[in-house]
């Protein structure tokens, strides 16, 4: 059956900061361009989860008058703290000894989801056609192999692949240029990187999993504008990660934890590390008496400079975290994602008007501040392979003394799915029980995300080999999916002494961790029916 097709000048996949910025910039350059933006969430912002301490540099370039446009950027960073935690103690690190990249006094504490909602309004006002609830599920190619556009997901297919009464076929969206801005581990971006060998000669990509909870806390513990980070406990010296605690407006704190997905012990449960972290006396003191109102998780892309793939290919661009423009030592990717969107728009404008090749993107990128920024940050993450302490000492030398200009580049050696050690060689980790006051289980956490997928639809977490989880992964690694999935999607159930691998796909919060960490790359995340997934508010 041939699908209906619609033509646009530019198709943008993903309504995060990078995609929305591309759309706005394109309309500013030429208001007559027809632009279509697809977003898999039920509305713009509903799948966005971020810290977020926001650097306005790219926004200043995009909308210099953003302060007059009723933007949701309100809380200026007023004070900073950096703590090293041991099990019961904490040591405060003087802020003047923090590398420049970790100083935030010019930045704002925002909800990135709300920023995206606002950017969405700006884009729509300029005439961009935004379609929330429509995942791009497939890449379309021209006969010469160049990207032609994308197809949207069929809707109303039951779990066995039959059409339901409500069946609505997807359509082909054809663009002169297609921009992929799906964020970290985009499911189409992944295919493009493979097909066009965009990562040739680059280091393996690196990822982390980031958790976030929003708490409404007691007035006396709240200090609007305070930004705090911690390293150390509960992680051991060999696991990369740390926390953020941002005091936002309305007595809320954004509390989060990021753990490198290159961790080695299959018994490690990122979710439980985060829950346990909150029981540290200095953290407990902040949230005690408060109320948890939101929960969520999302993978981050951390490989940076060494792992950044080529971002152009025939007919398409790959931008933002879909490519990997996040600055890891800063834990910031919104401003760089936006900057890559601005460069994408300038590239496309010239390509359409002056018939230039999309490869001009690279030169523009290399000449911009984003390149400089990622270059200087490049050695921080790999240095933590030597452990937390040496990593910090090296980072101090690299970032404070040499400002990222040391004459060598450290390599990322392994992809994250290769780093797990066999379970029988590693120690089990006993995590404390949840107290339902400070710490909570996965079920009640996922409940807060408002996640839902229409029940009778194909499972969107595809196993390349359905037997592998039991025959290999359980045997060798004690099936770590049970622990690394932040939403409890994966379970091992025993039925009459036979182990069964169960996928509760309706709970999936689209973080993409399984697609990254599964040791055999056996789990493939594909787009579910439109509008499914979390319904984040001000994450």
């Amino acid at each position: 059956m041939s699908r209906e097709a619609m033509e646009y000048d530019v198709i943008i996949v993903g309504g995060g900061p990078s995609g929305l910025t591309t759309a706005i910039k394109l309309k500013q350059l030429d208001s007559s361009l027809n632009i279509c933006l697809l977003e898999k969430a039920s509305e713009i912002g509903a799948h966005i989860l971020s810290g977020n301490v926001f650097e306005t540099r790219a926004l200043d370039e995009l909308l210099p008058n953003w302060k007059d446009l009723n933007s949701p950027i309100k809380t200026k960073v007023k004070k900073e703290k950096f703590l090293f935690l041991s099990k019961t103690k904490s040591l405060s690190w003087p802020t003047w000894l923090l590398p420049n990249v970790q100083q935030n006094h010019k930045n704002y504490i925002i909800s990135l989801a709300n920023l995206c909602r606002w950017l969405g309004e700006q884009a729509e006002a300029l005439g961009v056609e935004i379609f929330p609830g429509f995942p791009a599920s497939e890449i379309l190619y021209n006969e010469d192999g160049s990207v032609k556009g994308v197809a949207t997901q069929d809707m109303g297919i039951d779990k066995d692949g039959n059409k339901k009464d409500s069946f609505e076929p997807g359509i082909d969206l054809i663009g002169k240029v297609t921009v992929f801005a799906e964020g970290c581990r985009g499911h189409l971006g992944k295919q493009l990187i493979k097909k066009f060998e965009l990562d040739k000669g680059k280091d393996p990509q690196q990822y982390g999993i980031g958790f976030k909870e929003i708490w409404e806390i007691d007035d006396k513990n709240h200090e609007e504008g305070l930004v705090m980070h911690t390293a150390g406990w509960p992680l051991d010296n060999n696991t990369y990660g740390g926390s953020f605690i941002y005091h936002a407006e309305n007595k809320q704190v954004f509390l989060g934890y990021v753990i490198g997905l290159d961790y080695k012990n299959p018994y490690l449960s990122p979710f439980d590390e985060f829950q346990r972290f909150k029981t540290h006396p200095v953290i407990r003191k902040i949230i005690e008496g408060g109320k948890r109102i939101s929960y969520g998780a999302r993978a981050l892309i951390e490989g940076g400079f060494q792992s950044l793939p080529k971002m152009f290919m025939p007919g398409a661009l790959l931008i933002g975290c879909d490519a990997g423009t996040l600055n890891m030592p800063k834990i910031k990717g919104s401003h760089t994602a936006m900057k890559s969107g601005i460069i994408a728009a300038e590239t496309i404008f010239e390509s359409i008007k002056e018939n230039k090749d999309l490869s001009i993107f690279e030169d523009k990128f290399n000449k911009s501040w984003i390149y400089e920024e990622l270059y200087r940050a490049r050695n921080v993450k790999p240095s933590f392979n030597w452990g937390l302490i040496i990593g910090i000492i090296f980072t101090g030398i690299d970032q404070i003394l040499f400002r990222g200009k040391l004459p060598f580049t450290l390599k990322h050696k392994h992809a994250d799915h290769e780093t797990l050690k066999p379970a029988n060689k590693m120690q089990k980790i006993e995590y404390p029980k949840y107290d339902n006051v400070i710490t909570f289980d996965k079920t009640s956490s996922v409940y807060l995300t408002g996640t839902n997928h229409t029940d009778n639809q194909p499972v969107h977490l595809q196993l390349k080999d359905p037997n592998l989880p039991i025959s290999y992964t359980l045997e060798k690694f004690d099936e770590p999916a049970v622990r690394y999935c932040p939403a409890g999607v994966y379970e091992i159930q025993k039925e009459k002494d036979i182990n069964k691998f169960v996928i509760n796909s309706q709970n999936c919060i689209h973080c993409k961790t399984c697609d990254i960490k599964e040791p055999s790359q056996n789990i493939n995340w594909v787009t579910p029916e439109g509008g499914g997934g979390p319904k984040y508010g001000n994450m």
């Binding site: 209906e4 619609m6 039920s42 509305e43 912002g45 509903a46 909800s111 989801a113 709300n114 909602r117 056609e129 379609f131 429509f134 949207t152 809707m155 109303g156 339901k164 009464d165 409500s166 609505e168 076929p169 359509i171 969206l173 109102i293 339902n436 409940y447 807060l448 408002g450 996640t451 839902n452 439109g530 319904k535 508010g537 001000n538």
Partner: protein, 249 residues
């Protein structure tokens, strides 16, 4: 035959509702809003009847703030022909809604009014019934099947004892149950087309309807938290606990 469908904008059913700190209501800032689910069934049924050639026009109406228009757009995207948005801010009670709908009915002169059985925000389950009384039209509530027969409707209703089938004369009010049909998805081209369909803007204040509250809301609060469960080690212990602690057997 002309069908008027009433659609309400409510907090999406998947969203975890949060109560405002002062107990004056719930938080709706940056919360995902959607069409009240049974209203989607009402629209779907009207469009199906039209597609079967038994109706000429489907008009979707909503009453509410500026953004409530999105609800009408959604109805237009799944097949309604045009929309009406009666603008009014704040919470309005079923009686006021019914009175406004009465005015719209007088103006539009539909043969049928389809509505949801109840709205998932306030769960009143009153508006359809009140409109029926105001217009003095017959009503069939909780419809799980509708058959159009000449000047009559045969409606199957879901009631606690089972299914009840009633026959009512047209013009009539029908409130729809979730099991009436499976609402279709709005396709991308149809969403585009819906952007061009007309939505008439009216102001509630111009309709001469008294929309003042008749109910004083004293407080909104969260239901009490459920206590954590416990594990019992044997049936005997369970029975003992049910008898002596819970005192239910």
């Amino acid at each position: 035959m002309k069908i008027l469908v009433a659609v309400k904008r409510v907090v999406d059913y998947n969203v975890q509702i949060r109560v405002k700190e002062d107990g004056s209501g719930i938080i709706t800032d940056n919360v995902k809003m959607s069409t009240n689910p049974p209203d989607d069934n009402a629209t779907e049924e009207a469009v199906k009847i039209k597609e079967a050639g038994k109706s000429k026009e489907v008009v979707a109406v909503t009453i509410g703030e500026e953004k409530a228009q999105e609800t009408v757009r959604k109805a237009l995207a799944v097949g309604a022909d045009r929309g009406i948005h009666v603008k009014i801010d704040g919470i309005i009670e079923p009686l006021a809604v019914a009175k406004i709908l009465q005015k719209v009915v007088e103006k539009e002169k539909p043969d049928l009014v389809f509505m949801g059985k109840q709205a998932i925000d306030d769960d009143c389950n009153q508006t359809g019934q009140m409109l029926s009384a105001l217009l003095n039209w017959p009503q069939a509530t909780f419809a799980s099947k509708i058959e159009v027969k000449d000047k009559k409707l045969e409606v199957t209703r879901e009631i606690d004892e089972g299914l009840e089938t009633v026959e009512i004369n047209i013009p009539a009010i029908v409130t729809c149950d979730l099991r009436l049909n499976e609402p279709r998805y709005a396709s991308l081209p149809n969403i585009m087309k819906a952007k061009k369909k007309p939505i008439e803007q009216l102001n509630a204040s111009d309709l001469g309807v008294d929309t003042s509250s008749r109910i004083e809301q004293i407080k909104v609060e969260e239901p009490p938290k459920r206590k954590a469960g416990i594990k019992v080690s044997s049936v005997a212990e369970l029975v003992q606990k049910l008898k002596n602690e819970a005192k239910v057997i």
